[in-house]
């Protein structure tokens, strides 16, 4: 880590300093001789982002080690308005109203994170090429991303593929060292779109995500099992991974809050959906094992019956009277055991296995609700983008001075504004409903499981008690052998 971790104001610009950039800016920006670097070096990050986009910054870890505590409160690119010495405290923060392709399950507050602010009046201070290259070399492979586990969510034309985006990092600005989220292709596109319009990143080479493919995706939606679909998904997965790797290797992009949010932000719905999916998977696994148990129990049943008969035959052959009797008695006990195993197998199936089967299906229904909410979000986002288009159209008409069409355009805008409001309301409402329903479902499930499990165990208990009686009845017979 460079020397900026200590709080002393950097000296006047001399090339020896490891952070010449800072000094330069200080000179350029601050009118006072006062050092602006006493506290969190926030302003530095701002100005760097704004005034010197072509300067490769120092190791981000340097910078963010100080702001770790407040990183989650990031409102604009590293601007911290709680800082007295922040030159840009009143910087304009704008909501970006990007297309709907942003993270599907994010709360609408997602795009609240700033993406633009006014450029600083500070002039750019070009540094030597040498210094640039030096900074380049200190590259931060402190972040590793992977895109894995493509999973088809939903059915038919509404289906999509969700990928697991896993991040491994040592950077303190992230919430933990290892984490993962689920993102779909449109989320990746949305990230690109957000980054590409950001003024702060103008001039930066923004990596490109893979291209859309209607044909490819349709095939996947319809049926994912054929090799060409599998190949398509795999190509896309790999391309998305490379895309993300390029994004995080770009120091400016890595600092970008949208990027960070893309990598790590989860919300209740995201988490819950994940939980539901995991649970469904585990229940399926359990169901398989319980099925196996049922089969084995039935086998035991059959084997016991067969053995009982064989033992009865042996008893008939036996020439010692008492032993012959005992063998016949034992054969009868085994017969009764068969009956018990039979009943137990029924219990295994009708109580245990069916319970699991029911909940596997019900969890599918829960996932359906989440999908519905998702579609409501999409509708809202699409309406927003249509509204934007209408506004642009109106602006064009104004420019082209066509007053007759203008009226219609204005009407359309009003209509779409109403729609946007409506859809937003719908989305919020469905979100609340889903949340309530999920909680209700969980309560019911706990109750249901408890009562069914108790039922299952009580049946087993009865079975074991009868078993004891059978063997206790046999014991004197065995002792009577002489």
């Amino acid at each position: 880590m460079a020397a900026s971790s200590d709080r002393n104001p950097p000296p006047f610009p001399t090339a020896e300093e490891s952070e010449p950039g800072l000094c330069d800016m200080a000179d350029a920006d601050s009118d006072e001789g006062e050092d602006i670097f006493v506290s969190n070096s926030n302003p530095v990050s701002v100005s760097r982002g704004v005034s010197q986009p072509d300067r490769v910054s120092e190791e981000p870890s340097d910078l963010f080690s100080e702001e770790a505590a407040s990183s989650t409160a990031a409102k604009a690119n590293g601007v911290h308005s709680d800082d007295d010495n922040d030159l840009f405290a009143d910087t304009n923060v704008e909501l970006s109203t990007d297309k709907s392709s942003s993270s599907a399950r994010k709360e609408p507050s997602g795009p609240r994170h700033a993406s633009t602010f006014t450029p600083s009046p500070a002039a750019m201070q070009p540094t030597s090429l040498e210094q640039l290259e030096e900074e380049e070399a200190k590259d931060s492979f402190d972040v590793d991303v992977a895109v894995t586990n493509p999973e088809k969510i939903g059915d038919g034309m509404n289906a999509y593929v969700a990928y697991k985006v896993s991040t491994r990092t040592s950077l303190p600005m992230f919430r933990s060292k290892v984490f993962s989220v689920r993102r779909r292709f449109s989320d990746f596109l949305g990230l690109y779109e957000k980054l590409s319009v950001k003024q702060s990143l103008h001039g930066c080479i923004i990596p490109l995500p893979p291209e859309k493919s209607v044909v490819g995706m349709t095939k996947v939606k319809v049926g994912m099992d054929d090799p060409s679909s599998v190949e398509f998904v795999e190509r896309r997965r790999a391309a998305l991974e490379r895309y993300l790797q390029r994004v995080v290797s770009h120091p400016s992009l890595l600092q970008d809050p949208d990027v960070r949010e893309f990598l790590e932000r989860e919300d209740w719905f995201e988490d819950k959906f994940q939980e539901v999916e995991n649970e469904e998977q585990q229940l399926r696994k359990l169901h398989v094992v319980v099925d196996s148990l049922v089969i084995h129990r039935k086998e035991l049943c059959g084997n016991t019956a067969v053995f009982a008969k064989s033992l009865a035959m042996l008893g008939n052959s036996e020439d010692n009277t008492a032993l012959s009797r005992a063998l016949s008695q034992l054969a009868e006990v085994e017969d009764k055991m068969e009956q018990l195993h039979q009943e137990q197998a029924a219990s295994d199936f009708f109580i245990f296995a069916e319970l699991l089967g029911d909940y596997i299906r019900l969890l599918g229904a829960v996932r359906g609700c989440f999908d519905q909410r998702m579609r409501a979000w999409q509708r809202w986002q699409e309406a927003q983008s249509t509204l934007q288009k209408k506004r642009e159209a109106e602006a064009k008409l104004l420019w082209a001075n066509k007053p007759d069409k203008l009226q219609q355009a204005k009407e359309e805008i009003t209509e779409w504004e109403a729609r946007v409001t409506q859809y937003e309301r719908d989305f919020d409402r469905i979100g609340m409903t889903v949340r309530k329903e999920v909680l209700r479902f969980e309560k019911e499930k706990a109750k249901d499981f408890k009562s069914q499990i108790i039922k299952y165990l009580e049946a087993m208990l009865q079975s074991q008690q009868r078993l004891i009686k059978f063997w206790e009845a046999f014991l004197p017979e065995a002792k009577a052998i002489a």
Binding site: V289, L293, L300, L314, E318, A446, E458
Partner: protein, 409 residues
């Protein structure tokens, strides 16, 4: 009561070393003659080879020392058995059945499958499955030690066989027995025995029986043998199904555990308790299976082999009878031809003597065999019933406990 103190050194799937001490014979208590006490206090298993430590304590002067141990392999036991079978003098005795070769195939195959399926299980599940498998290895091991021990104890408690010279060598000779084992003969002997086995049924049934006792025995033993062989096979299948259920309980417990770990709702406790129950259950079910195996399946299996040994005695006697009848015919022929009459007479006399001796000792042996069988069945049936009751009571307690916990939530 059996006390087992195994020490495991698990060095991968292909090699399992087990060392095992102090299991007393569970089947029939044969060590009641203090003048010659034999046991197998220790055994070592490496790959397929099992090395038994045969320990002898004796007051007999025919032995060099009063207390000594030798290492022996399975093949040594087979050698001893075959030598006894081929000794003419013992033709009228039931030679205790040879112990079967130690068979670790079943647990070894399972170990392989477990290794292949490792990726699909949680670490915990895998560990438990491995534990189960190790228990299975131990059970197989226990059985094979027991069966080898019983073989020797049968010999030591037999008034005639205990004095056999080869038996003494087996117990005492502190070098490797393989030199004495004449492998070629053993192989041939085995082949001959197998060939003979299929013929003996025919021979035994074909010979005209003069003695009611043996007539009855023949009918009884032939019939009983086929029935008990059938029962043994079926009992084994039954035991195996029990083991499968115990294994299923492991998987169920592990999956429930994963579910509970990820569950953030009120259901978590339900799942945890059920997982815990199944974990305890699998141990109970495992014990039920292995106890049933020892007390029932192994009992039937042992007496199946014993009855085969009794049948072998009948066969030898039938052969002696056939020899005697042939010698009569030869004598008649000699008399007709007036040639070699004294030899024919001598031969006939010898055959009769042999036959009478066999019949006499055979009757004694078969009668005591009956008694022995009845005693063994009684003992094992009682023990099995008691164990079943014990395990079921244990299960009842576990179930009641779990139900209580669930209801109280």
């Amino acid at each position: 009561m059996s006390i087992i103190k195994p020490s495991f050194k698990n060095t991968g799937f292909n090699k399992l070393c087990l060392s095992y001490c102090r299991l007393r014979s569970v089947s029939v208590d044969l060590n009641h003659d203090a003048s010659l006490l034999i046991d197998i206090p220790d055994a070592l298993c490496e790959r397929d080879k099992v090395k038994f430590t045969v320990h002898t304590k004796t007051t007999l002067s025919s032995f060099q020392k009063p207390d000594f141990s030798v290492p022996r392999q399975h093949e040594d036991f087979i050698w001893l058995h075959d030598t006894l079978v081929e000794t003419e003098d013992y033709a009228g005795l039931i030679i205790p059945p040879a112990p079967p070769k130690p068979d670790f195939d079943s647990p070894r195959d399972k170990m392989h499958k477990l290794g292949e399926g490792e990726a699909t299980m949680t670490k915990e599940e895998y560990t438990k499955m491995k534990q189960e498998l190790e228990a299975e290895y131990l059970a197989v091991f226990k059985k094979t030690v027991q069966v080898h021990e019983i073989f020797l104890q049968r010999l030591s408690s037999h008034p005639v066989l205990s004095k056999d010279r080869n038996f003494q060598i087996f117990l005492e000779y502190d070098q490797d027995l393989s030199v004495r084992r004449k492998n070629a003969k053993e192989m041939f002997g085995g082949f001959f025995k197998n060939m003979v086995k299929s013929a003996d049924e025919v021979l035994i049934s074909g010979v005209k029986e003069v003695d009611d006792f043996f007539e009855q025995e023949k009918t009884f033993l032939l019939d009983y043998y086929s029935k008990i062989k059938d029962s043994t096979a079926k009992a084994e299948k039954m035991t195996r199904a029990h083991k499968n259920i115990a294994d299923d309980y492991i998987h169920i417990s592990a999956t429930l555990n994963s579910l509970a770990a990820d569950d953030m709702t009120a259901n978590k406790k339900n799942l945890e308790k059920l997982s815990d129950l199944f974990e305890k259950f699998r141990k109970v079910e495992g014990r039920v299976a292995s106890d049933q195996d020892l007390k029932l399946t192994e009992l039937l299996r042992y007496y199946m082999r014993d009855i085969q040994a009794a049948k072998d005695l009948l066969y030898r006697r039938a052969r002696a009878l056939a020899d005697y009848e042939n010698s009569n015919k030869a004598l008649d022929k000699a008399r007709l031809k007036s040639k070699d009459i004294p030899q024919a007479e001598e031969h006939q006399r010898q055959c009769l003597q042999k036959f009478d001796k066999l019949s006499e000792s055979g009757k004694k042996e078969l009668t005591s065999f009956k008694g022995r069988r009845v005693v063994a069945f009684r003992k094992n049936f009682i023990e099995m019933a008691e164990l079943e009751i014990k395990h079921a009571k244990n299960s009842v307690a576990l179930l009641q406990g779990c139900i209580e916990l669930l209801k109280s939530n």
